[in-house]
Structure formats: C-alpha cells, structure tokens
C-alpha cells in the first residue's frame, strides 16, 4: 500500500549508530587507510632500508614530523613511470588483453546464458549450479589445469597430433593466446550469471508477440531479446573487464616473458626489485584507470536496481 515510509529518514538510537560504526571503522582502517598509505609511499623515495623507502613517517615526531615528511614528497616516481616505456606499455597491453578477453568471453558466454534461459524450468537450477560451481573452486587450480593442456607436449597438442590436424605441436602456452584462454575460462561465470538473470526475466510472451506481429525468430532475437538483455551484457562485461585488467596469476602462469600486464609488472617491481615507491605509483595509476569503469559499473547497477525496485 502506501510506500512513502520507505524513504523516511530513520530514527536512530545508540545501538543504531553502533551498528554502523563497527563495519564502517573496520573498512576505514583496513581498506581506505591502506590506500592513503599507498598514495603517500608512491610519493616517496626508494631507499636501502627497512621499510625500503624515504621519508618514513615517525609518530614520535608528531605533527612537525608529519609536515616535515610531507615536504619531502615528490612526483619523481610518476615521472619515472612516463620515462620508462615498460609501464605505459604494460597499462596499454593490460587494457587491450582485458578488452579482447572480455569480447571473447561474451561471444562464448552469451550462447551459454541464452541456452540456459531457454532450457526447461526443471533443468535450470542444475545448470545454474554448474555455472556457479567453478566459481567456488580455486582460481589458481583452474589456471594450473590449463598448463597441462596447453603446453607443447600437453593434452591438446597430443590430441591434435593424434587426429592428424597438425604435424608438429602448436606453441600456445606462454603466449597471449594462453592468457586469453585463461581469462575467458576463469571469468566466464561472472559474465554468464548476470546475463542469464536478465535473459531469464525476459517475458516469453514478448517474443510470441513479436512473431505474432510478423517478425521471424532471428529478427525477434535481434529486435527484442538482445536489446532487453543489454543490462545483463553490460554488467557481465564490466565484471570480466575490471578484474582482468589487474590480473596477475593468469599472465604469470600462462603468459610468456613478452606478455605485459600491469599486475605482473607491479608484482615484479615489488617482490623482485623491492621498489616499493614505484610499485605504489603503479598501483595508484592502475586504480585511476579502473575508477572510470568502476564508477560506470556502479551507476549502471544503481539504475538497474532502481528500475527493478
């Protein structure tokens, strides 16, 4: 009935504030504060010390120490990122690889989601379960499984040689193709789930109406199904693209030495070169790149939930 009460500003007791405070503080301390630290260190200098950067901020020196350390900050690391072409190539290559992988995931995922939505009601929970299950199993293991398949003496090459399709083994592992396969494989459920949700909600009588009005099935798909599933397509693509840009495990295990992805670059910079300030700067820029799709994604989600609610 009268819905107006839902928009009411709530009366809040002490307990109500406490309820907000606990998760809020947790996230402020363990999510937001670390980012500010990353930002600060990205403006510091590398040093042979523990921790390996300067200036360090000493609590004992109080406010003076804080302003003192502020004055020593510099944009040197960011300038460095523009000077060495490794970095911008990594960023660019990450975005390109993520983009291509997203398109491939969509091409593979759409028929699956569509097939699920068209399947008899009784199968759907099982099919849904089959899509979700890989999501629960370890990411690392799923990537690892592909090494045995893709390597030169791996199962895929063995099969193709046996069938006589090829005469000598294909080199797939340690190339960008292996990275594409890895990303598509790992992120397929992320795309199928929202897409299936939007396709499943689609009212079957819409298609019947289209056909009743003289529209052949393929045209009905193009004019009715596809546009109405667009929110699911967009949500799914964002869910693949955003994490794929910063991916580390897949390019590291499946990609080759000339596969450039920023997640891998950051990892190497941090663990191998121990250059904390530069890796922090890399992280800050990566975050800035991702802010755009993340904000777009959130806006789209909000619009969707408003439409459904």
């Amino acid at each position: 009935m009268d819905q107006e009460q839902n928009t009411a500003p709530t009366r809040r007791t002490l307990g109500g504030w406490l309820l907000i405070a606990v998760p809020y503080l947790w996230l402020l301390i363990l999510f937001l504060a670390p980012f500010l630290i990353v930002l600060k260190i990205s403006l510091s200098e590398v040093a042979v010390a523990i921790p390996p950067y300067l200036p360090t901020f000493d609590l004992a020196e109080g406010w003076a120490g804080f302003t003192e350390s502020l004055s020593q900050l510099s944009f040197e690391n960011y300038i460095w990122l523009t000077e060495d072409d490794l970095y911008w190539k990594s960023y660019l290559s990450s975005v390109v690889i993520a983009g291509i992988s997203t398109i491939l995931t969509l091409l593979l995922g759409y028929p699956i989601a569509y097939g699920m939505a068209r399947s008899p009601q009784a199968w759907r929970p099982t099919l849904l379960m089959l899509v979700i299950l890989p999501f629960w199993t370890s990411f690392l293991i799923r990537v690892y499984a592909w090494i045995g398949i893709l390597k030169n003496e791996g199962l895929l090459n063995q099969l193709l040689l046996f069938l006589g399709v090829i005469d000598e083994p294909l080199v797939i592992l340690n190339t960008n193709i292996a990275v594409y396969i890895g990303i598509v494989y790992s992120y397929l459920p992320f795309l199928v789930l929202p897409l299936y949700a939007s396709l499943e909600r689609l009212d079957g009588s819409l298609l019947e109406a289209a056909e009743d009005l003289g529209c052949p099935p393929w045209k009905a798909f193009w004019n009715v199904t596809l546009p109405l599933s667009l929110p699911g397509v967009i949500a799914g693509c964002f869910l693949v693209f955003i994490p794929a840009v910063g991916e580390f495990v897949i390019p590291d295990l499946l990609g080759g030495s000339n596969t450039l992805m920023i997640g891998k670059t950051l990892w190497v910079e941090f663990f191998n070169n121990r250059d904390w300030p530069v890796s922090s700067a890399v992280a800050v820029i990566l975050l800035l790149i991702l802010v755009i799709p993340i904000v777009l994604f959130q806006n789209q989600q909000q619009k969707m939930s408003e439409k459904n609610g």
Partner: protein
C-alpha cells in the same frame, strides 16, 4: 522465457560446460596417473596421494590455510552481516556513499592493489607479518562478499516481520536475534562458505601480507607450479576441488530439499482450502 531449447541452444550448453569442466576433469584424472610424466598415462595409481602424507611442508601449509580460512570466515561473516544490515536498514546517514563504495570496491578491485595496500598498512603499523595479518586481510575483503550475499537476502525480507516483533513487545536487538537472524540464516551461511573458500583460494593477497612461518597452501602450490606440472600438485588440487565441490553441492541439495518440501506443504495447505 518459456520456450523450449533448440539444437543450437543444446549444442552451446554442451560445448560451454565441456569447456568449463574438461580442464578440471583432466586434472583429476591425471592425479591418479602412475607415471611421473604428467601428460603420459602410465596406469592408475594413488601413489601421489600417499606421497602427500609425507610432505610435511604441504601439510603445514594446508593447516595454516584452514586456520586462516576458518577464522577469517567467522569474523567476516559478523562484519559482513552488520554491513549488510547497515546498507539495507540504516537509511541515510553521513558518509553512506563512501560506506557502500568501500563495500563494493573490493569486489572488483585487482587483488594486487588490495594486497599491496594492506601490506603497506601492516608495515606502517610495524606489525610483524604472519598468520594474523593474512587473517585480517582475508577478513576485510571477504566481509565485502558476505555483505553482498546477506544484503540480497535482506532485500527480499519482509520488514513488517521485524515491526510485528517490536509491536508485540520485543526490543530491537532481541528482535534481530529472534526474528531477523533465523530468517536470513541461509544467506549468512552462504556468506560464511563464500568467505571460507575465498580465503582458501587466495594467492595474491596472502603473498603480500604473509610473513615467515605462515605460508598458505595456494602459495605453496604456486611456487611449485612455477617449476612445472607435477602429479603431487595434481593430487593436492584434486583434494581441494573435491573438498569445496562436496561442500557446495551438499549445501545446495539441502537448500533445494527444504524448498521443495516447503512448496509441497504450501500446495497441500491451499489445496485443503479450495
């Protein structure tokens, strides 16, 4: 959609699911390979599983991982449930946008950034790294997943149920434990399971935030995988996959049973009336 599947639909489903499952199935099969050469079938054997029992390093890592996963899942469930309640129930309050941003950002944020930032926090706090730091890091990102899972359950929750309890004389906190929690419990349990498996699987964040003596299983697997595919790793992976799959399937069967029982009851109740 109500129409039946075409051959195209069935083919794409078969191919799609083969793609999703074949690698895992092959991995499981080859974990029973007698040959040390991982891609040559040398007969059935369980020797690699037996060998695992002697691998103390791997067992240690597994033990650390289970402890981290259990502890972080429990704390993340509490924090995530509170966060979900705030998102759904608290209405407007100062900083709400920041709050929901902090809940949703970790879901899409690259793990390298989360790992790096948490490590730098622990360094700044001069915290010795190890079990506790990994656990805190996992709790933080897992609680965001729990929040989302519980939130979806809370959104479908009829708020008048809580109002009815209060109307009948039950104060708010007691209402939460007597009414809200039992009803959203399936979501809370699903959230716990998700947090547990996320922690079990995580390599990147654990690598950043760990310290000496707290090597987790994924880290151990990763360091060996870089050296090449081995049957022992196949065996470890098979056990992990079996463990998680059994848990998830059991949980979903239980939910489904409950649901179909419920539907049956409802049909019976309405049949009696009409």
């Amino acid at each position: 959609m109500t129409r039946g599947p075409t051959w195209f639909n069935i083919t794409s489903l078969v191919l799609g699911f083969s793609f999703l499952y074949l690698p895992i199935v092959l991995l499981v099969i080859y974990s029973f390979n007698a040959s040390r050469l991982v891609t040559v079938w040398g007969g059935f054997s369980t020797q690699w599983y037996v060998a695992l029992l002697d691998n103390d390093q791997l067992l240690d890592a597994a033990w650390v991982t289970l402890r981290v996963a259990f502890a972080s899942a429990c704390i993340a469930t509490v924090i995530g449930t509170l966060a979900a309640l705030v998102l759904v129930r608290s209405g407007r309050f100062p900083g709400r946008t920041l709050f929901s941003g902090m809940i949703f950002a970790p879901l899409v944020m690259p793990e390298v950034i989360l790992g790096l930032s948490l490590l730098l926090l622990f360094v700044a706090m001069e915290q010795t790294r190890g079990f506790w730091t990994v656990m805190l890091a996992h709790t933080t990102f897992a609680s965001c997943y729990v929040a989302v899972v519980v939130q979806s359950r809370l959104v479908g929750f009829d708020k008048s149920m809580e109002e009815a309890a209060e109307d009948l004389g039950c104060p708010p906190v007691k209402t939460f434990f007597l009414i809200t929690l039992p009803i959203i419990l399936p979501g809370v349990i699903a959230g716990w399971m998700l947090a547990f498996t996320l922690s079990l699987d995580d390599l990147v964040i654990a690598s950043f935030t760990t310290g000496p003596g707290a090597t987790t299983l994924p880290m151990k697997i990763y360091s060996q995988v870089r050296l090449g595919v081995t049957p022992e790793i196949n065996a470890v992976c098979t056990i992990l996959v079996a463990f998680v799959t059994t848990g998830v399937i059991a949980a979903s069967i239980a939910t489904k049973r409950q649901q179909s029982q419920r539907e049956k009851d409802e049909r019976a109740a309405f049949g009696a009336e009409g």
